[in-house]
Symmetry: C2
Subunit: 631 residues, 2 copies
């Protein structure tokens, strides 16, 4: 893997041993100074990272991070952050002063768990079982899209192997033959509260990883030669398999008093213990060591060659019945034509979410994650690290499966786009297990998120277009059934805006809906009109950010009377978003009717479901009448 | 397993073949009539269920469901509901008329995916990869708590094996030696949109299940003798292992036109096709068949014998600093003394969540789920099926990992209690990955949920007590740090109530907090008092249901001025809950300041974190001043 003409700096193993001791000492110093942290979890993995960073990780530390050619290093066991930061000191990008006075401190980039506040950290870790799944996305980009030679190294703990997400990740890594993914498991036998289930039974772990398709190497994680040989084999070995290195290690290794002892997880060493440990480790060192650099210059991202010129941008005629999921399917193909780094991932439901056409049109940019929603989101997150534009789709209800991954993507500042189809009771027959009624609450609460819920095909197309350039975690909620196109093709739909679909200029009441309830609101306005009640209908397609000023104005202009109607639980959805916006101050006294899904739905037609939940046109019109008649 | 003196009805395999044909025909008839459903997914598994229900499932259909001695049958592949309902017809508990005119219809209990609306259905399924994890909880109850001889049979699809939750489940089933858990996998090779990753590679599946500790039997899922022998072996075989039967099947089996064909998932047969299929299957049948009954009479739930009389109910002195997580730990032990069916599960963090004392005191009623939060919730859900009183604890942030399981528990009407510690930015140093800031939004949106967030030890104890009798999904949010006890030991804390901690009887402004922000609100009131501003402080310990009338009264009495402050994202939390309550109608015009965590926190002390998020005493006092000075 290292051509002869590439200069490689490779400190000998004696120097590496010194480095390993330094990493242990620095991990102890930093955590004792901060009176917080996980030194023993650092000490078990110090030899592994010392060998890796000095002899195998190809990384140009002087150039900006996230360059196309650097290897990636993901600390899946994020609580070993002091070890990672000690590595950063050892390669000379973080000073000893910053390490000692920054780690765990307010305002410091050296947080207790790594985040991309540091330029060499791709992703936030600390929720265990996520680093490896995310790394699969990065490795997928390198192997299947960019075709670059960078490797993705992941350091996992053994406790986190109990997370099912680990097995979703390895299965996908094997399916996509990610030989560029090298997972190192620090099997130190001890979790937070005691022994792990499998202890040091490397054979048991090996069987599991092998059964999911990985190439497994078992080593003593404190034998530098074994580590070195394993890393070399991992890089040159199995061509079509991810490698997993199972390293038998000792928690707290290097300080006899705490080695392999329970009760030391997540505890810094008191100062006297720390001093004793540092003495046992041979004292402080301040080596600076650099390992090999990348061997390959950075090419541009490979252009997709399968562009189909026959496809026209999707346009629609007003009044035609089109499902927004179908419009999404068309829009993403069109976007794929113009943006070569648009990538689509889906969880075994591409014929329902509408992305089967994208899969057929751009097979090299479509990745099937099968029924593994955590890995679906993790793959998108990993792809975003490499600056791809991932769209990840499944049934909206099943995005809840990946909530913790979405939360962490928000903390990472990952630019990912989630698409949830079959939202709400509108799906009808399939019943409550398939109905997303909590997804808006989930997605609104994610840091810096965008939540969009278009009501027709034209607005869907316009929003998909903008999502390609949107930063942070975005969510597009789409509907199963076909509903009339409401807008002409040129209509702009800025994120953060809303649309007034009906108004007399002198309305009695405002009806605010999104998605399917926009259509019910229009129907309600017609019913109300026959009674002489003039209703303004607003399409709140941008749920976060919400068009607060526009909504406040409408409510003020309708004497404070407003019906908000949503195909979602009353908690955390559009209704409460509107309440938050109105709480910022209206001139009128607000009188609000909040229609939302408060029942436990069963099976039935979409119309029966909307009626039973009290969110159909009749229910809206009755709510509006209540408001108007109250005066 | 079947003592000679037990009368067993066992139709011969020729009759079973007739039954299997009937199940296929009925599945086709019901779905064609409803114009909806998954007939081909039923047809692949018809032989498996025909053998099971007629010769192995020990079930007294004439007695009420959920009796202690009946076997359990969990349809993890919930979309095969028509097959299950055809079984219910065959055993005579559902009429042909109900099956034909009920399936998938509005108001019917025969929903498109099974729910406990049916007395023979323990749990809602339909979100794949959940039936087996839930079944682990049921089997755990039978094997380890009740020590009854019932078996738990689970029918899985092959697509759902891609869910990581399956491997969490098998790992736990093996750890707890659940030989009473028998998983049948209907390996029909085809998922929703095409072939599964592994197709008919039963050996590959077998390696995975074996590596996680299961006893595996591979069969032809259409050979009745092989099926029959496998079920017999599963019941009498491995004493200390769960059994997994991998059945090679053909999707659509029985109707040549659709057998093993893509494009038929989730599609009913058009009427002409249905008629042809029924002809090919030998026409309609209306057999009634009963299999064996349970062999064991129902004993009461085993009393825990490890009760420690030395433990006193926890009481606290006002002003003492106690973490609510510590109070929870004490309360759950005390509850465990008096309620023998209180069971605690935890995910490798019992020394942080406070339940390590329970684990030590009642080892037989504590189950370590290691780091597998989906299985944590699934185990609780399964235990609730057997009428235990499960409390499941982990870091509140990591409950998001199990969101889909919690959602489904709500649909199941499961009585489970989730406890999330380390809520909010209050945790300080460990940083955003460990901070639950979205959990209240998640839990409020769950159907029929209860959300509690006590501020001190006394209220924690009082609420834990009530949770034992609470139906539905409950959530207790607890705090890392120690804060002064605010209440005397006898104070009642009804769910749905609130407490006014400070009031002058003539206040300028209401401060509403919960948990840690109650303490910040008290401190703010002191600051305000020095300025001559009288603040009322309300402890909204019951976030759902919220004390709407109490809060409205307080806001009315303080001229509409209210500060809501929460250690949570502004979306979907306490603040929006209060807004929803106030929207039901106040006399005063509401002027609200909503303080919540809008920033991306890093590391630091609790005080630094609360200040940086703008939810500490200073921020509250400033918000209150803004409100008062606005007039």
């Amino acid at each position: 893997m290292n051509p002869a003409n590439t200069p490689i700096v490779e400190p000998d193993l004696k120097t590496v041993a010194e480095l390993a001791a330094q990493l242990r000492v620095d991990s102890i110093r930093a955590t004792t100074r901060a009176e917080s942290g996980h030194p023993t979890s650092c000490m078990s993995a110090a030899d592994l990272l010392a060998v890796l960073v000095s002899r195998h990780l190809r990384y140009d530390w002087d150039r900006a991070s996230r360059t196309p050619d650097n290897d990636h290093l993901i600390l899946s066991k994020g609580h070993a952050a002091p070890l990672l930061y000690s590595v950063f000191k050892a390669v000379g990008v973080v000073s000893d002063d910053e390490l000692m006075n920054g780690y765990g401190r307010f305002g410091s980039r050296l947080q207790a768990h790594p985040t991309p506040a540091l330029p060499w950290v791709d992703l936030a870790t600390g929720s265990l079982g996520q680093g490896l799944p995310d790394a699969v996305g990065i490795a997928l980009a390198g192997k299947r899209l960019e075709k670059l030679s960078y490797r993705v190294w992941v350091l996992c703990g053994d406790s986190e192997l109990a997370e099912g997400s680990i097995w979703e990740a390895i299965e996908q890594a094997a399916q996509y033959q990610l030989s560029n993914l090298i997972t190192i498991v620090d099997v130190n036998r001890l979790g937070q509260r005691g022994a792990t289930m499998l202890g040091w039974d490397l054979d048991a772990y090996a069987k599991r990883f092998e059964s999911f398709g990985a190439h497994v190497i078992k080593i003593n994680g404190h034998d530098l030669e074994e580590i070195d040989a394993a890393f070399a084999r991992a890089c040159s070995g199995a061509d079509n398999q991810p490698t997993v290195i199972l390293a038998r290690t000792v928690k707290g290794r290097g300080y006899t008093l705490v080695e392999d002892q329970e009760g030391w997880h997540g505890r810094h060493l008191p100062e006297a213990f720390a001093n004793e440990a540092i003495r046992e480790l041979g004292g402080e060192r301040h080596l600076t060591i650099r390992g090999p650099k990348p061997t390959q210059a950075a090419p541009a991202i490979v252009q997709d060659s399968e562009i189909d010129d026959e496809l026209a941008p999707p346009t629609y005629e007003i009044g035609t019945a089109v499902a927004t999921r179908a419009a999404y399917g068309s829009a993403i193909v069109e976007l794929g034509r113009r943006r070569s780094n648009v990538v689509v991932v889906d969880s075994e439901v591409s014929n329902s979410t509408g992305v089967d056409l994208f899969a057929a049109t751009f097979p090299s940019r479509f990745f099937e994650m099968y029924m593994a929603e955590q890995q679906l989101v993790a793959t998108a997150t990993g792809l975003s690290v490499r600056n791809f534009i991932p769209f990840a789709s499944t049934f909206a209800a099943f995005l809840t499966r990946a909530h913790d991954f979405i939360r962490m993507a928000g903390i990472s500042g990952a630019n990912i786009r989630l698409v949830g189809s079959h939202a709400g009771v509108e799906i009808g027959t399939d019943g409550p297990s398939q109905m997303a009624l909590e997804d808006i609450a989930m997605m609104r609460s994610v840091f810096d998120s965008t939540v969009l819920y278009p009501s027709d095909a034209v607005s869907t197309v316009a929003l998909v277009e903008q999502l390609a350039n949107r930063t942070g975690v975005s969510y597009l909620r789409i509907t199963r059934g076909a509903y009339p196109v409401l807008y002409s093709n040129s209509t702009p739909f800025p994120i953060g805006g809303s649309k007034t679909l009906l108004t007399s200029g002198n309305d009695h009441v405002t009806l605010i809906g999104a998605g399917v309830t926009v259509h019910e609101s229009i129907a309600a306005a017609r019913i109300l009109s026959e009674m002489g009640i003039r209703a303004r209908v607003i399409d709140a397609y941008s749920i976060r950010p919400l068009d607060g000023s526009g909504l406040r104005r409408a409510v003020d202009e309708t004497a404070g009377r407003v019906v908000v109607v949503e195909d979602h639980r009353p908690e955390g959805g559009l209704g409460e978003g509107v309440l938050s916006a109105l709480a910022e101050g209206t001139e009128a006294v607000v009188r609000l009717e909040h229609l939302a899904v408060r029942n436990l739905p069963g099976s039935g037609t979409a119309a029966q479901m909307l009626a039973a939940a009290g969110i159909d046109a009749d229910a809206i019109s009755q709510a509006a009448q209540r408001l108007v008649n109250r005066d």
